[in-house]
Symmetry: C2
Subunit: 468 residues, 2 copies
Amino acid sequence: MGNYKKLDDKDIAFIKNVIGDEERVLVGENINEEYSHDELGGTSSYPDIVIKVKSAEEISAIMKYAYEQTIPVTPRGSGTGLVGSSVAIKHGIMIDTSLMNQVLELDEENLTITVEPGVLLMELAAYVEEHDFFYPPDPGEKSATIGGNISTNAGGMRAVKYGVTRDYVMGLEVVLPNGEITQFGGKVVKNSSGYDLKDLIIGSEGTLGFITKAILKLLPLPKRVISLLIPFPTLEKAIDTVPEIIKSKAIPTAIEFMQREVIEDAEEYLGKAFPDKQSDAYLLLKFDGNSTEEIEEIYDKVAKLCLEQGALDVLISDTEEREESLWKARGAFLEAIKGSTTYMDEVDMVVPRNRVNEMVTYLHDLQKTVDIRIKSFGHAGDGNLHAYILKDELSDEEWEKRMRNAMELIYRKAHELRGQVSGEHGIGFAKKPYLMESLPEENIRLMNGIKQVFDPKNILNPHKVAQI
Amino acid sequence: MGNYKKLDDKDIAFIKNVIGDEERVLVGENINEEYSHDELGGTSSYPDIVIKVKSAEEISAIMKYAYEQTIPVTPRGSGTGLVGSSVAIKHGIMIDTSLMNQVLELDEENLTITVEPGVLLMELAAYVEEHDFFYPPDPGEKSATIGGNISTNAGGMRAVKYGVTRDYVMGLEVVLPNGEITQFGGKVVKNSSGYDLKDLIIGSEGTLGFITKAILKLLPLPKRVISLLIPFPTLEKAIDTVPEIIKSKAIPTAIEFMQREVIEDAEEYLGKAFPDKQSDAYLLLKFDGNSTEEIEEIYDKVAKLCLEQGALDVLISDTEEREESLWKARGAFLEAIKGSTTYMDEVDMVVPRNRVNEMVTYLHDLQKTVDIRIKSFGHAGDGNLHAYILKDELSDEEWEKRMRNAMELIYRKAHELRGQVSGEHGIGFAKKPYLMESLPEENIRLMNGIKQVFDPKNILNPHKVAQI
């Protein structure tokens, strides 16, 4: 492993010939700085060449060549990842899918949509809604590609009711590391025909195969959506209410928690006031359904329950304008926190949802123990917390020390609560040590064995996920 | 592969010592004939020893020993499979999980239930309903174990709305072929922490690991259930209506199709008349929800649509008694058809749901072409058809010839319609040649590579699924 061929002029000539369009092949100084890192930027490395592909056949031809020549290949969508999955840490070839952005088919009889990997999440959502359909996964980053979403098994806000990306991928076309094009799954609702290779590709962060087409499952678009913004006297009281909501068997579409300090970051970032000021801690809930009555019955029950549990108020948001101001604030949290400090790193742990409070309290106290600022928000309804560790004015050395210390302690706590390292952002390059520590040795052995079966020459996005 | 050690007295003594209870270890003549085959009986072979295990630790100790000694091990639940997955084709050790039948925990805060693999589907369903929860997967065979259901990714009638077993398995405890006990997944709603080993185990028919515990996701129990029995002038008209129902965006819980001849088999088998006689072809639909009004709106729409499409009538079943008489008949189809002939074999193909009619017409015509009786029924709403090829009074030789011929043609047609070999019964031993033919070579290579990573000595349920 690791004995890769360094890209030379002959390789570049071969690639240019395959693509037949100079503008889609970037070399040397033509490679934009953006291609050397992802959204968080902690992992940084330049590819030797960037190819903006237009078809599975192009990818297949390049993979075949890379396989023969033992040149590493890194797949890339919009580069909105947070853990370095789409960074070419071994240099070589980067394949950018952003031009493969066509919706290929909307099949109303089978409730499926077939798309290329470079379609953006926001484009997909808009397209299906126009046709009165619904693609439920709703990660915060709307400019991510669907290929990237599948590669990290992105979750998002609606997971409480609707599940995650995995639950909506019915079939995949994939280019294997040896260049062969194959299919996993299809337009079938059930499947027990051999091992589930499709789900192995989902969440594998571009290390097992290159996704070139996806058949996604759609639902009818819910006709009515209503949100509740519920201020609580303390964050603890807010989060303690979540298991009670779940136990009440009213299943909201989303249950998010938020704190005043993060809301203030969002207000500053958006230049817009948040619709409520009465508290430091909120739950934000969403309900959807086909009629106002249907939703009303459920949210009435939840509103009463929250008040019984000590909520200060229940603010109903049933106009599009109010809806937008609430969820826009929520959607801006990551960027807003990023804008409030000099640099940051993140933890995307997931714990059983009745342990969220323990985790949030732990994060709060940790700020003192480690002497570093930590901001968090997240999906209270599914146990997926996003914690951001902030550099502020710390020296590089102090930052590195305290951040590592905080991160190790957070992951250890998550493990203790029977959680997992990543709920939706993946492992990539940055989170490998924490994955290794959190999983049984046998699981790591199996993952690396599987990687070797798919990619015996270790050329596709090497040294990511479970690979040292 | 295949150089297994033949079980000797020393091995038997070792196993008896591990188990410490003579009654849970069956050898030689004490092995009931039932253990030599599954429900369909086409694959037949005796194990040398049957062990009725009580814990993961027992399984681990036996697997470790079998691994050292290279003795094949076959996992078995209730033996209700249809493709020979739980038959010890290489003899050796059979591990029967039927005594591992405890519900370990109902966690209302996380909406999960943790069970041992030997819990029967009907026991699980009754247990959760008592507690006002709902485990949606609903395969016809209620006396299957949950371990078996997970191993074949069983689907069942409610897949149209609720998905299949895979969608309800959050975490698994598994004994690996080398005897190590490990965990995949857990009580977390989202997970992007390395490759998805959990979903690889689901549907792998006991060839990659031995399931010893499962954490399952529950839903609130829908408060109201209503069924519609809809007679059509022809089966074609009935099935043609299904994509229209899907397109109308009313999502029923179940959409089944049935024909008079199968209904008559069920009447005879149950000794009870079916509630309607006016037609040869029916759709049976189920709707669920939390209020009568909510369901009414949807089923009204569907009823109108069916009448517009030429349905003869719409019979509403809204009493428990009627519900039971309808679904009991549907549930008895497999046994009823089995009782109507001397022997049979089955095809469990799945096709995109808008291709069901083509398949049903093909099956109908095939009876003449091949000169053999074929009965079918199935899940029109999810494209999963069950076709039964009947031996009747054919000689063994003629049966073998015509059955093989019919089967090959059916699978070829399913492939042409972009379907898959199995929707929910799995591949096991009996369907291997058809799986091999239907999948790209690369997929088979990957599956066998994965098998080798999990089970380098090929001792756990060998020569099943994708393995020659």
